[in-house]
């Protein structure tokens, strides 16, 4: 397509270079400096999208980030990005853009038939239309609604681009780089403050970019700012949120204007800016007026039309009509007139007060005072407008292909509103202005209701000076301000809606009409926040910036109250949409969840460990060179432990080194049992409760010397246990003389277990008598293996004779290899997490499934470990009646009656007393195939469990239609007398 609507001269585009792009597969051209919207308009394209609900044809309405209609998909494949606003998308050679929400094509859209049945899709239709029958929702209604109503499509492939986060501190953050922003930055920078200037546009200058005569001043300001070493200019950077404690978030679109980011470069960057002072020079946005068919392609804001002419050298139409309630809109009309666009008329709501009417007459532009637009002719393109006098007495039609609307200006108070500052209504502007600051910020320029370039610059300079002065900086060198403005009168005659037949939209993106707001009011949604949610008004990507005030005005009229009273919905982050990629930054995949590897990890990898991520840890489930699945490799490893000897990496257990005179006292108060009486060189199993009396963690803790203990925790709770100790020590018993820190990563630890363990260890442990008499069960001794220092703990999780061997992490592999070598004649096998679980279930040791945050020590059969004397965490609350009720589910063992493995037991199965019963007596917590008893068995929590030992019950798993007959037994399926561990 040729650039039929490109002006011969003027604008900020580089006509010497041509960029080619496609929209819906058709080829277009544009120039550097164009947005997708300006390039489409320059090629005469008007129809760019279909609306969300009614699939009405939509065009380009604005020239900025508040665009509600011109939403497109950019790029293709993995880089496809939906819902980008064509008005801020810079074009590049090869850009692919696609319209959204239409089928089969933009021009002919089948779902546009919704327009004909639109009265069946009123406000709140999600809530009331499709509620019955319920079974229809998933299968019928939702797919239809999803297909009919919706926005763009997300890419289905992983994002190939990189994103990053940046942190910055500054004295003064200036948001916006118009006349006010540049002057504020210059004043603060000259005073010596560290300044950051952020602007969402790819060119700095804001409104200055529309004023060619201000170009020298703009360039001079930018040159001066660039020359200040402590001033940083960030174009293409949207400040999206103003958070508590003067922290602001911004997203910099580093490479969105390029086909792909440069090698090793990022696509976008999120800035977290800690600003001591902030100047909000965010400008203002023009607002529309509601009237029938105010959404037709060719209806746009007056300022947007002026922007396309002045900045982009593009004619948005051939014959324009203006509809306004203020003087500033006349300047836009004059700009179009100057560019050769025929201006058929200015329809001015005001009967008098137009100071520009004479200037319009000088240009031969007709002004119709006291008149309103009553309809727009045309479907996919405007071809005329109807207007009438305010009282409706005379109605006439004008030919036009462009209708430029101005309902006044809304200062951009959104960032300030994030801080909970309350915007204040201003009658002259009929708009909300920034309220009393809550954080260290001030607004300047048209964001503060000041209009005119010179006025804004003066206001900005003052704000910059004040921000710097608040931090103790003295005024710096003065600088030149722009020449005084021609007279600017921003006052408006408040006017929101033309009541006439037809859909008058108050939210173009979400297809909310003035009638929808009135319907919400009639149905009781009279608060603006309720009306917003009921109608989805101002919930679109523009977050109400474009036309939120119209909905308020309509609601205010319905309530018979003022706009000031009704207010606008609370603005919250984000000001404009931010991609997930940018929010995640580098924190994706394993950068979000790092991998923890045991010191023995390389050995497991070399020796065919099959790994599982447990929390952050990578742990070998079992070892298999052929990567076989199923039970065989697990049973083989477990049998080695029961019949010979096995070795297992337990380095992931939490380890906390505790030292100090009061170490024993702290442990006595954290554990339900006593550690201050533990002999040096001994280990003891301990239970910890939460303060509410529920089981928290368990593990063995050893006394290494008079004032030194080594605690082990479960792998999962290691960090929580440390924080728990710190909390009680620091906040409850700070008088205790004790220090502790985690040493989990400092040790490689391995469990060597099985009847031949002693034989295996005798072949490699030096300097220690391993006999039962010299080193009994629960003993702790130091020794040497392969020249490496080791500490041996005679503790057992498997129920077999076992020693845990700990060595400084760097010696881990060497010690492991030495033990393997010594054990080889005795049939040693390494075993993984699966066999470890199998063995502990057979032995009846509790783990995560039993310590599930609901069970008490009594539930698990540990009542004898609850000491009678002395304080400990959870002691009192554990005695609450419900926690000691006799019919609580309690730990027992269960076994399949059938010794074959045909009918399997499953964790989570419910225990019932008849095969068809639906009354649960409890549930199976941990289940395994047993190598000791050659059947399915496990642990279960059953009401009155210990009294049921010997009973035949059933484990039912209705999801798989399985019912298995079981026998209730002691949880200790293996060696209930505990003889093996003491052998």
């Amino acid at each position: 397509m040729t650039q039929t609507h490109r002006l011969a001269q003027g604008g900020r585009i580089d006509r010497s270079r041509t960029l080619r792009f496609t929209f819906d597969g058709r080829r277009y051209e544009g120039h550097p400096g164009d947005t997708l919207a300006s390039a489409l308009l320059a090629s005469g394209e008007r129809l760019v999208g279909r609306s969300f609900k009614h699939h009405r044809p939509r065009g380009i309405v604005t020239a900025g980030p508040e665009e509600p209609c011109a939403l497109v998909e950019l790029r293709s494949g993995a880089r496809r990005e939906p819902n980008t606003r064509a008005t801020v998308a810079e074009i590049y050679d090869g850009l692919e853009a696609t319209s959204q929400n239409r089928w089969p094509s933009l021009a002919f859209d089948v779902s546009a038939i919704n327009q004909l049945v639109g009265r069946f899709l009123p406000a709140g239709f999600y809530y009331k239309t499709f509620m019955w029958p319920a079974s229809f929702w998933e299968k019928v209604y939702e797919p239809i609604i999803r297909r009919a109503a919706g926005l763009g499509r997300a890419a289905m492939a992983p994002d190939p681009d990189e994103y990053e986060s940046m942190h910055a501190h500054c004295d003064v953050l200036v948001v916006g780089s118009g006349a006010a922003g540049l002057a504020a930055a210059r004043a603060a920078g000259a005073a010596g403050a560290r300044v950051i200037v952020a602007d969402q546009d790819f060119e700095l200058g804001g409104g200055l970019l529309l004023e060619p005569e201000q170009e020298p001043w703009r360039q001079g300001m930018l040159a001066a700012l660039s020359g200040m070493p402590e001033v940083r200019l960030l174009p293409r950077t949207t400040v999206f949120g103003f958070y508590e404690h003067d922290v602001l978030g911004a997203v910099e679109r580093v490479a969105d204007h390029l086909p792909v980011p440069p090698e090793h470069g990022v696509r976008q960057r999120v800035w977290t800016i800690r600003a001591r002072q902030t100047v909000l020079a965010t400008g203002s946005t023009e607002r529309p007026i509601a009237f029938p068919n105010n959404d037709r392609p060719g209806v746009m804001l007056a300022s947007a039309a002026m922007t396309y002419v002045r900045r982009f050298g593009a004619r948005p139409g051939e014959r324009a009509v203006f509809f306004a309630n203020n003087d500033i809109a006349y300047d836009a009309a004059f700009a179009l007139h100057h560019a050769g666009v025929s201006v058929a008329a200015i329809i001015d709501v005001r009967k008098k007060d137009s100071k520009r009417a004479a200037a319009a007459a000088d240009r031969g532009i007709a002004v119709k005072l006291g008149s309103v637009i009553s309809d727009v002719k045309g479907g996919r393109n405007v071809h005329g407008v109807s207007f009438r006098t305010a009282n409706g007495s005379v109605e006439r039609v004008l030919d036009a292909d462009l209708l430029c609307v101005s309902g006044g200006w809304n200062p951009a108070v959104h960032l300030q509103s994030h801080t909970r500052a309350r915007p204040i209504w201003n009658n002259d502007l009929a708009a909300f202005l920034p309220g009393k600051p809550v954080q260290a910020e001030r607004s300047a320029g048209s964001a503060a209701g000041v209009f005119g370039i010179a006025h804004c610059a003066t206001d900005g300079a003052k704000a910059g000076r004040e921000a710097a002065a608040a931090l103790g900086f003295r005024d710096g060198a003065a600088f030149e301000l722009p020449a005084p403005d021609a007279e600017v009168d921003p006052r408006v005659k408040p006017f929101w809606e033309v009541k006439a037949k037809g859909k008058a939209f108050v939210d173009l993106q979400n297809d909310v009409t003035a009638d929808d707001i009135r319907l919400a009011h009639r149905e009781g949604y009279t608060h603006i926040e309720h009306a917003k949610r009921y109608t989805t008004h101002s919930m679109a990507t523009d977050q109400g910036r474009f036309s939120g005030i119209l909905g308020t005005a309509v609601l205010a009229e319905a309530r018979g109250e003022t706009i000031e009273t009704v207010g606008v919905p609370t603005f919250r982050p984000y000001v404009t949409p931010v991609t997930w990629g940018a929010m995640a930054g580098r924190h994706a995949g394993h950068h979000l969840q790092p991998v923890r590897r045991s010191p023995l990890h390389p050995w497991h990898v070399r020796n065919h460990g099959i790994f599982l991520e447990t929390g952050l840890w990578m742990r070998p489930l079992y070892y298999s060179a052929t990567r076989e699945t199923g039970w065989d490799p697990i049973l083989k490893e477990a049998r080695a432990v029961r019949q010979a000897v096995g070795i297992c990496d337990v380095s992931t257990l939490g380890k906390i080194d505790i030292q100090g005179r009061d170490a024993g006292i702290l442990l006595d108060r954290l554990y339900t049992n006593t550690f201050s009486t533990l002999a040096v060189g001994k280990a003891r199993y301990g239970l910890m409760l939460r303060e509410d009396g529920i089981m928290f963690d368990d593990g063995t803790t050893s006394r290494l010397s008079e004032h030194r203990y080594l605690m082990t925790t479960t792998t999962a709770k290691a960090a929580e246990v440390l924080a728990h100790m710190e909390f009680y020590h620091q906040t409850v018993w700070p008088e205790l003389d004790v220090r502790y820190c985690t040493v989990t990563d400092q040790w490689a630890q391995m469990s060597v277990a099985g009847p031949k363990t002693r034989l295996a260890l005798q072949g490699c442990v030096e300097g220690l008598d391993l006999s039962n008499e010299a080193f009994p069960f629960m003993g702790v001794c130091d020794a040497t293996v392969a020249g490496c220092p080791v500490r041996l703990y005679r503790v057992s999780f498997s129920g077999e004779m076992a020693y845990e061997v700990a060595t400084p992490a760097g010696y881990g592999e060497r010690v492991w290899e030495a033990i393997l070598a010594a054990g080889r004649p005795h049939g040693i096998l390494p075993y993984g997490l699966e066999a470890l679980g199998l063995l502990r279930i057979e032995k009846g040791h509790v783990a995560g499934p039993e310590l599930n945050g609901q069970t008490t020590a009594r539930d698990l059969g540990f009542e004898k470990m609850l000491k009678k004397k002395g304080d400990y965490v959870g002691r009192v609350n554990a005695e609450r009646p419900a926690l000691v009720a006799p019919d609580r589910p309690r730990l027992v063992g269960i076994r399949a009656v059938d010794p074959s493995f045909e009918k399997r037991l499953r964790g989570g199965a419910h225990i019932v007393d008849r095969p068809d019963s639906k009354a649960s007596l409890g549930w199976a917590t941990s289940i395994t195939r047993s190598v000791e008893l050659e059947r399915w068995l496990g642990l279960a929590m059953i009401r009155n469990g210990p009294e049921r030992i010997g009973q035949r019950l059933y484990a039912t798993y209705p999801l798989k239609n399985e019912v298995v007959e079981i026998e209730v037994c002691s949880p200790h399926h293996v060696d209930p007398e505990n003889l093996r561990v003491r052998a």
Binding site: H245, V438, E691, A723, E726, Q730, T731, V876, N877
Partner: protein
Amino acid sequence: MHRIDCPWCGVRDEAEFSYRGDATVKRPPADGGAEGFYAYVYDRTNPKGWHVEWWHHVAGCRQFLKVVRHTVTHEIRSVAKATDEVAAPPA
């Protein structure tokens, strides 16, 4: 984003801390009884306004800090060590 002025480390981002609830409740002595311990675990005033609360500097000095924070505005009035006596300002 809260900025918390840790007495040990200086001003740090909220991301380094974890919240640990009401710092005005005191753990009863060992003979505090069922009601005392019930209150310690469960009774909270949930004030709208100033609140004294525990923040644990987990990614810093690992100290529990007594932070006086406004639950509506998020303003932080003071940050004290765990052992300092801190009175809640009137809401």
